[in-house]
Symmetry: D2
Subunit: 437 residues, 4 copies
């Protein structure tokens, strides 16, 4: 650990929650240098939907590297890229009746968001963009300007406001207030102070903002308002996409068709940096090289992304499995909330993107800390870190899923039931708790 | 090729200059699907200083993947990251007397630039940043705001100007005008309209801007002006770093010590996405997670980056080799310019980052097009794409280096000597030109 | 008229609604060059609360000019300024228990708003400002950024959004939704995307935005939310102040005490350019000359402003008179709305700042046009110019007030009752209608 | 004085330099409440070119007020406005071969600048504007963004940089460097980081920036660069116009024709708030009411402005007189500089807009302070207040002009010659110095 203290910047975040030096990983487990194993309910913040080092993809990756397949290709045509595009078209776009052009941006989510915002502004000739309360889209400047979190916003050191209007997300104003009506009103009112926007950018389930799931009806209303006002709809599917909510795209259930979609995180399948922007063909007004980036041709990611699609998305078996596990998480967490929530805890999310809103960030932090003591890596989310966030690999075994929730349940019981009088819990590692090696 | 036409966005750039489907690559060569080989004087726009799929790094990479080393680690401590840091400290920082903290940003250059600008602004509490004419720092919004190129700037669709003042780079105002004096004057003058900046961001050799190399004296003056006005000096070493100019950091020759350094491109050695920000320890005022990014723990890159440093930077042999080859390039291109430049062509750059300024973008384009017909991939740079840019792998063999320059020389001769009356050159592939397979 | 066509810019606005060349004015009447008289229910857009060329102030003004009193004094101390300050303190501030410092800005409302925003931002060190839907604060850039109207916003030609968040005004989201709760929520939520603001800027009755009057309760809630979050409350009392709503300051009825108040329009009493910013003493952190303006010492305005206060604000007689007339306007317009509004028209405003919302801008335009044909100058307001706006001089005689409303009533009857079948109304001037000379 | 201490804001500036309570003024003199007289070499910061309370204009003003001429006319046509326009056309525009449309903005210089910038941006569809080092254009946000002074800029509390690039004014880079060539270069270079601007905004003589006079050749080059790049040229003639430099417009000598001109300060002649924007007819693309302002119809100013033009600009007698006096100031100050400047002092300006650059702000401050002790009001200018600025009324008598310069000369002698060893000078008032009453 010494080298990290010595020369790694203070900006570290997860390393503080999980103060181990990790070495290997497989499926739903990470292993530290001492060989201890940890059940992973964080999954690279949603990047490892198919688990760590998925063996099927690994084989393809090794094969490609061994044959000296191009690693770094800028935006040049390569066999690996072509095959990814074919696969993506055949198994993702066509079965869903979607016609999109694919832009390879720099291989990070924030880069895809930057590109999407540029495109929307250039195509429409408008500057303003609608973002939502508790939205999170990245930490580069334009992405940050549509991100709600003040911790991140405050780090910019320069003006963020230009060309962004924030409106309330689904449910933000309480039950019974359909916030898309507010959006419709300000867009209909030439004196509202909200300039006609190029686009609306939205997450169907807000990952960092607290696992807030928009309802199907709200998404449909949002799409209708966008259409009515000739405003582009950008779905940022970076965290909720790639099956996390139960379908490949998180918006499938609502039946809407966004004009632009950003994808990253689990797209490569193997945790390799990769990001794309999908856009309706008429919107593809990019001029050559207008938006670029050195690593937009990360060919290793093309190889594993293709493998992921071929392995999991050729039929609906995987979707059904996600749904089944999602239902299990829901029912287990419902019981936990009923038993320990004292009427305060709230369940959030959908599919395998779930959260328990503990209202208090301090409480949620105690719970996740205790989980880690017991071998479960799980994080919090939300403005005050008040939501315990489930992001386990979608391919997790039923046994491991149960085990993880069991640990969580015990942690919540320990923290909530006896918070005042119980002695500091001993680590379950000390007690030879079963998941510890 | 069909799939690219069908669903890849029009934003493609290099794919237009080099319209082939590439598959494999090794050292200084790419191979297309038909097996034709191309000598690579582009090197991933400076990302492949150690050549494609360097066999030493490849071995380490395969080994790491096979043992299920963590691929994606967010910002958690991992064995691979720790070893990279140890190696970087031992062979890069310590021998050069540099004390820097290392921040792992999202693994693209533009992300590192965004982080560097945030840090400088937060530490100083100032908003303005000084950028230079013809500077290029990336395409996300804050990086774009310090980038000179109007093609890129114009794509933002929103205001770029806030908090950036552009001043003339070395030589911009002609010989005999030391532009750091202008900078000193506007910073000394409380009524200049140039607000006291947080930082100056500079490339020692402007890669995209036309291979404009700042002189040692100018860099020293720049550092002195920064110090005088208590302004942070950021060297963006993304393209010029990692040995390109002859030393690991491009600023070593000048003896200056930047406050902040951004690195990416060839840092991973293998073309894998990777980027860091180096900062003087006193500047590391980051709060946990203030700047984040899903792929800031691209562990495969840590493995190859360590291998690259261990292989090439343990002693000064590599530096000497770069210098020798750089001199060769210089003398060969000098001859070419003398013979064909008609007094107009200008040599630019230093080390193995060189360019021939052909003044006309049209002319430079004809030259690089003809090179490609003859099996050499080489690109242009500069505001009008008027500079033929040498970015061959640093590890290129003498033979291949000679071969590449020979092709270039022939192309220039063909284009310049007989531009008006010669028939359209047949492709050398058709003529079984020797470098074609 | 020829000279206006020849060389006056197309930017003209009121000159299009009232296409005459006016020459003289007295009390509630304007007279054109031909001697025709027009009853003025526009009153310089709220600048002539005391009527045109009020004879009492006129005498003081003539006297001052004759004795060569200083006309233009920059910000130097002058007898006229001192006497204005004394009078303002004695009859306005002290009786209301208000302690404010007075800043003389450039003598236009927009300039006072610019100064108020600067002050709030400097004192708090924050950039964001909360503005409201349908707010109007002026046409210079910072004032424009807090103005809702897209017609004005669109003319800026540069980014407006930086550092401003627009939230819904009282009633904007319909009955039963207290929009200050929304404001409280976004300010309480660190992930709302609404950065903690320096200030909230609000009109108690939105003049240009459609005569929308905030309720007493809403203003009290707004003040409480500001206090809770340590945000400055700026009341822009430029149009609603100086007695227009029944009290000198429009916020008196609500019992709140703004941190900063902007005043202009009727402040000089005589229609002379004048504007001030009032601020709580602790906020007066201005450095000498930080905000300046050549005409901030328009001493003629000091003279008439003093006369206006002494004449109308020494006791509560004027307030009572405004209330009485306001009630008359209300009851008369209520009858009109009941008779002709077909359930659509809505009464708005309070005091002598009233409006009939005709829902349709086209309809409202026909009404005011017909009014003008009959000798009444009255204008529209609101996002779609859908509100017929009453801004008659506060000192109007009962007879003239009745006459004006009679003309309006007739216009509404003509326009609404027989809109489809009636012939184009002849001008009442042609028919020797009684108010024409 | 008590009331000023009690409730006037700390923002006061001139009131600190001249701590008296003034009451009357006539021609070149102000009188305080005690009857002391002060010779005015400040002239309302250039607003009182025709002296205080010019008796000819005063007569017209009184007459107009007595007959109840309209005081406040919004933008409606009035007899007074029409007559001003006729006069302006006949005696100002036509004799100079200028075709301009006239826009009446809010009656302050900064408002005219805001309007001019809007117009330029809207007509061209571009955002960037070129401003110059040491330029001053006002304190509302857009005007501030093109102003160089950090004292004013720093007060904005929000981003200023958007859409403005500052380039060096004439002489800023030293002799022999023609800064318009730098401007031409950055506008010709698509990678300069200086986006093609809507307009250049320039003062021919920088008033607040230190009485820096652009040469005729530089202005011609600037106009040529603007034309070459299809960029609008805005001359801000607010301080240098209305005869201050010897001709009505300050740019007449150079023979250039700006696309847009802003005027204010001495335009009304009597110190009354007044401002206009002049624009080439093709640029008058304003939509009705796009830029407005309550006091844009300050009819009293129209009356005095007409009188000023008729009195002084019907023939060239006034121009010749200004030139003669300007030459006198120049030769007197040349002698003073030669005798006391020790080779450091520099003469600046042209016509009757002159300055002595004392290099040190402290020194200049001592000089002006001593002048005031001796009955002369004169101010400093420049980034460090290092320039003693001559802005006496253009109509000053030869005797008073000599008297003022005599006082200044004595002050400089006192301050410079014996700075170290002389006792603190007694006030000349105490010594019955001849100009004191």
């Amino acid at each position: 650990m010494k080298i990290f203290d010595e020369i790694e910047s203070e900006v570290q975040s997860y390393a503080r929650s999980f103060p181990r030096v990790f070495h290997r990983a497989q499926g739903a487990y990470l292993f530290d240098q001492e060989g201890n194993q940890y059940l992973d309910f964080l999954a690279g913040a949603g990047t490892l939907n198919y688990g760590h080092n998925n063996p099927v993809f690994k084989e393809k990756l090794i094969e490609y590297i061994l044959e000296d397949g191009i690693t770094h290709g800028l935006d040049m045509h390569t066999k690996a890229k072509g095959e990814f595009l074919e696969t993506f078209k055949q198994y993702i776009l066509e079965p869903r009746g979607l016609e999109y052009m694919v832009q390879f941006t720099g291989p990070t989510g924030t880069n895809a968001v930057e590109a999407a915002l540029k495109l929307a502004r250039n195509v429409t000739g408008r500057e303003n963009v609608i973002s939502f309360t508790n939205g999170f889209h990245g930490c580069s400047l334009a992405a940050l300007s549509v991100t709600g979190n003040s911790h991140h916003r405050g780090a910019a050191g320069t003006s963020l406001g230009a060309g962004v209007s924030t409106v309330p997300f689904d449910g933000y104003l309480g039950d019974g207030i359909e916030t898309t009506e507010y959006l419709d009103k300000v867009l209909s009112d030439s004196s509202s102070g909200v300039d006609t926007p190029a686009a609306v950018i939205v997450e169907t389930v807000q990952g960092e903002g607290g696992i807030n799931a928009a309802s199907v009806g709200w998404l449909q209303n949002l799409a209708a308002v966008c259409k009515k006002h000739d405003v582009l709809l950008i779905v940022d599917d970076i965290q909720a996409g790639c099956g996390r909510t139960g379908t490949f795209f998180s918006f499938e259930e609502s039946g809407i068709t966004p004009d632009i979609v950003t994808m990253s995180k689990s797209l490569s399948g193997y945790g390799l940096p990769f990001a794309v922007v999908l856009m309706r063909p008429e919107l593809d007004e990019w001029k050559p090289g207008e938006h670029n980036g050195t690593f937009r041709g990360n060919n290793l990611a093309f190889v594993t992304a293709k493998a992921a699609i071929e392995t999991y998305w050729k039929d609906d078996a995987f979707e059904k499995d996600i749904k089944r596990k999602g239902d299990y998480i829901h029912s287990r967490t419902q019981e936990i909330v009923n038993e320990f929530g004292e009427g305060n805890f709230i369940l959030q999310g959908r599919g395998m993107m779930r959260g328990i809103n503990c209202v208090s960030g301090e409480l949620a932090g105690k719970i996740t800390k205790k989980c880690f003591q017991n071998g479960l890596m799980i994080e919090t989310s939300g403005a005050d870190d008040q939501v315990v966030k489930f992001l386990c690999p979608l391919i997790i075994s039923d046994e491991d899923l149960k085990k993880g929730i069991d640990i969580l349940e015990r942690a919540i019981r320990d923290v909530c039931a006896k918070e005042d009088d119980m002695p500091e819990a001993k680590s379950y590692f000390d007690e030879n708790y079963d998941i510890a090696v």
